[in-house]
């Protein structure tokens, strides 16, 4: 008899994930699968629309990181209108928008999801180990989280035009620069934001260093890593070429122009999941899967071009003697390295007068096919389009970050289940550790609709006949 344990968030519409843990006859875990319901219909929704509309329309896909989709689509449409290099003002405005997005997203994840685990420990009472507990015991940290998120959103508003349906990036450039008044508003709070970011980095680093043995046992597995990289090997979250490394840091490919990504990356369909499983073609689907996101980016880059983040990167890499760090919990530390990097880049940009330039848009010779790539907060984001002579999109293929992290998240959940499941009863401990493993990757659950309701995480134990043997919820 086969038993299944299902961990399922309740949602009204779609865009949810659930975890199914498979047991053998001896009640031992054989496998665990994370199901993320991805709404593939969006790629069809885009077909037939005029290409210049896509950078705005595509934001409907995701209410979590609309800026990343906005910029990835705009980068593709730059190519469609024949522009390979933007004006300095356009590129720097887009970068400012992107670093603002990265900053607010990483801050939100850290203060509201990760910090309770790090400040109270994984085994602390769940009644305390949550954002409310943080707010009560560390109110200054909770306020910092709100204010850092707000600061990032202000940057987005000033560069994209508005928080919802931003229009800042257009094919070939941008539609506004940053006024002196806007710049000065952001500069006023900058030093405080930098200090708070350093504080968050310290919390993440100290926890990992102090709990290294736990981190090594928790959802730890070797993997390949994929990221955009600058020509000189520096981390670049906005633009570059593709680099993939293996678990030891050997380059699988490097400085690949992402217009030809499909020659290096393929997507596998598995019958139990709506979400595809991308892999590196030269290695094959069995072993070619890879991680993306903060851990992959820090592991794969040669250096970071901002001083505080670079110092932090060196400290992080020293833990594994310069080799890639394959700890799932390493995502927290690297996410905070990127938080600091983002605010350092924001400072650099705000002090650059190119942001007040007037040369905003370029045009070139029309093309029919283009790929836009960006390092979104959760990892590499691929946008691929074909456009016909009537300016209509005829093909759209997206590989979102969570799709690339699909196999790693399955591995993480499987590892946790094998270690923490005892019998068929869903304990708080099991539920919490599965959550911690998933949270490390900060998956986008594609919840593009948010009608009234809540999304708790539920756990169900189901036997082979479909009977529910046990059921628990996180709230």
């Amino acid at each position: 008899m086969t038993n299944k344990i299902t961990i399922e968030p309740v949602t009204r519409v779609e865009g949810h994930g659930k975890v199914t843990i498979h047991l053998d006859d001896n009640k031992q875990v054989t496998d665990a699968k994370l199901h993320i319901v991805e709404f593939r219909g969006f790629e069809r929704f885009i077909q037939g629309r005029p290409f210049w509309e896509v950078p705005v329309t595509i934001q409907r896909l995701c209410g979590i990181c609309p800026v990343s989709h906005h910029l990835a689509a705009a980068k593709a449409m730059d190519i469609i209108v024949g522009v390979d290099k933007l004006t300095p003002t356009a590129e720097k405005m887009r970068r400012l928008m992107h670093y603002g997005q990265m900053f607010q997203s990483h801050a939100l994840h850290f203060f509201h999801l990760c910090s309770p685990d790090l400040l109270f420990g994984f085994d602390a009472d769940v009644a305390i180990r949550n954002v409310i507990g943080v707010a009560e015991k560390f109110p200054e940290l909770a306020v910092q989280g709100v204010m850092m998120r707000k600061y990032g959103q202000e940057i987005i508003k000033m560069t994209a035009g508005k928080k919802i349906h931003g229009t800042g990036a257009i094919p070939g450039g941008i539609n506004k620069n940053l006024s002196i008044e806007e710049r000065d508003t952001l500069l006023k709070e900058l030093d405080q934001q930098i200090e708070w970011s350093k504080g968050a980095l310290k919390i993440a680093k100290d926890y990992t260093v102090e709990h290294l043995e736990l981190a090594k046992e928790f959802a730890n597995f070797d993997s390949n890593h994929l990221t955009l990289i600058r020509e000189d090997g520096a981390m670049d979250l906005y633009h570059g070429n593709l680099r993939a490394i293996d678990k030891d840091g050997n380059k699988i490919f490097d400085q690949v122009n992402y217009q030809g990504y499909h020659e290096y990356i393929a997507e596998e369909v598995r019958d139990w999941s709506y979400m595809k499983f991308p892999f590196i073609k030269s290695i094959g689907n069995e072993d070619g899967w890879y991680r993306v996101g903060p851990l992959a980016r820090v592991n794969a880059c040669d250096f970071i071009d901002t001083p505080v983040a670079e110092e932090a990167r060196k400290e992080f890499m020293a833990v594994t003697n310069g080799k890639p760090n394959n700890l799932s919990l390493g995502y927290h530390w690297t996410r905070m390295i990127e938080l600091v990097h983002s605010i350092e880049k924001i400072k650099e940009l705000l002090n650059d007068s190119d942001l007040q330039g007037e040369d905003l848009v370029l045009k070139g010779e029309r093309r029919e096919e283009a790929v836009g790539l960006i390092e979104a907060p959760r990892g590499t984001l691929f946008h691929h389009y074909k456009v016909n002579e009537n300016d209509q999109v005829t093909m759209c293929n997206l590989i979102v970050s969570t799709t690339s992290n699909n196999e790693p998240m399955n591995r993480a959940v499987s590892g946790v289940a094998k270690k923490y499941l005892s019998g068929v009863e869903i304990t708080e401990g099991l539920l919490n550790h599965v959550e911690v493993a998933i949270r490390a990757y900060d998956p986008c659950l594609s919840c593009a609709t948010h009608a009234l309701g809540r999304m708790p995480l539920e756990v169900k134990v189901v036997d082979c006949a479909g009977n529910v043997l046990d059921k628990k919820s996180t709230n």
């Binding site: 968030p9 009204r12 519409v13 779609e14 709404f39 219909g41 969006f42 929704f45 329309t57 934001q59 409907r60 896909l61 209410g63 979590i64 609309p66 607010q104 997203s105 939100l108 994840h109 203060f111 509201h112 999801l113 949550n130 954002v131 409310i132 707010a135 109110p139 909770a142 306020v143 989280g145 709100v146 204010m147 998120r149 707000k150 959103q153 928080k163 919802i164 349906h165 959550e435 949270r439 900060d442 998956p443 986008c444 659950l445 919840c447 593009a448 609709t449 948010h450 009608a451 009234l452 309701g453 809540r454 999304m455 708790p456 995480l457 996180t474 709230n475």
Partner: protein, 161 residues
């Protein structure tokens, strides 16, 4: 309450998902009326930084689509409540009220307007016919309540089923 007050209206939802866009649609309609003392905001979903804006106003009115419940809309109070979310993807009005009033020391009264929607499962930038009618009724109600500066009396009139 009858004294002069500042009101924050937050309409949230995804306008690209049919009736899920009811909240932003109501926000657009109220913003177009440029009512003094009323700040209008809209977004795909509520976010933690909204707590700061809420703490700076006397009253906050959350507006969202609802997949079930009273037609054409329901209206009620939102009391602060400590809630924990599984992901960074959502935060409830109650949790935001708690952050605004207890963490950021606001003294804000919260209300919620749930407008009944019917179609959510496809992509599309339009409201269903029935949702559009419900939106019109909700806009009329919000305009009236703001003009009267009186909200509590309506919580029983439009109580959710």
């Amino acid at each position: 309450m009858n004294e002069a007050s500042t009101i924050l209206l937050i309409g949230y939802g995804n306008p690209g998902r049919l009736d899920d866009g009811l909240g932003p649609a109501l926000a657009d309609a109220i913003e177009a009326k440029r009512i003094p003392g009323v700040t209008v905001d809209s977004n795909y979903q509520l976010s933690v930084e909204d707590a700061d804006a809420i703490a700076r106003h006397n009253i906050v009115l959350f507006v969202d689509a609802d997949v079930q419940g009273r037609e054409p809309f329901w209206f009620g109070r939102v009391e602060p409540k400590k809630e924990v979310s599984f992901s960074s993807h959502s935060i409830s009005p109650e949790a935001l009220m708690d952050m605004a009033n207890n963490l950021l020391e606001g003294e804000t009264r919260g209300y919620i307007l749930g407008i009944r929607g019917y179609e959510f499962n496809e992509f599309g930038e339009r409201l269903s016919a029935k949702a559009s009618a419900n939106l019109a009724a909700a806009v009329q109600f919000v305009e009236k309540a703001i003009a009267e500066k009186e909200f509590d009396q309506y919580t029983s009139v439009y109580k959710n089923a």
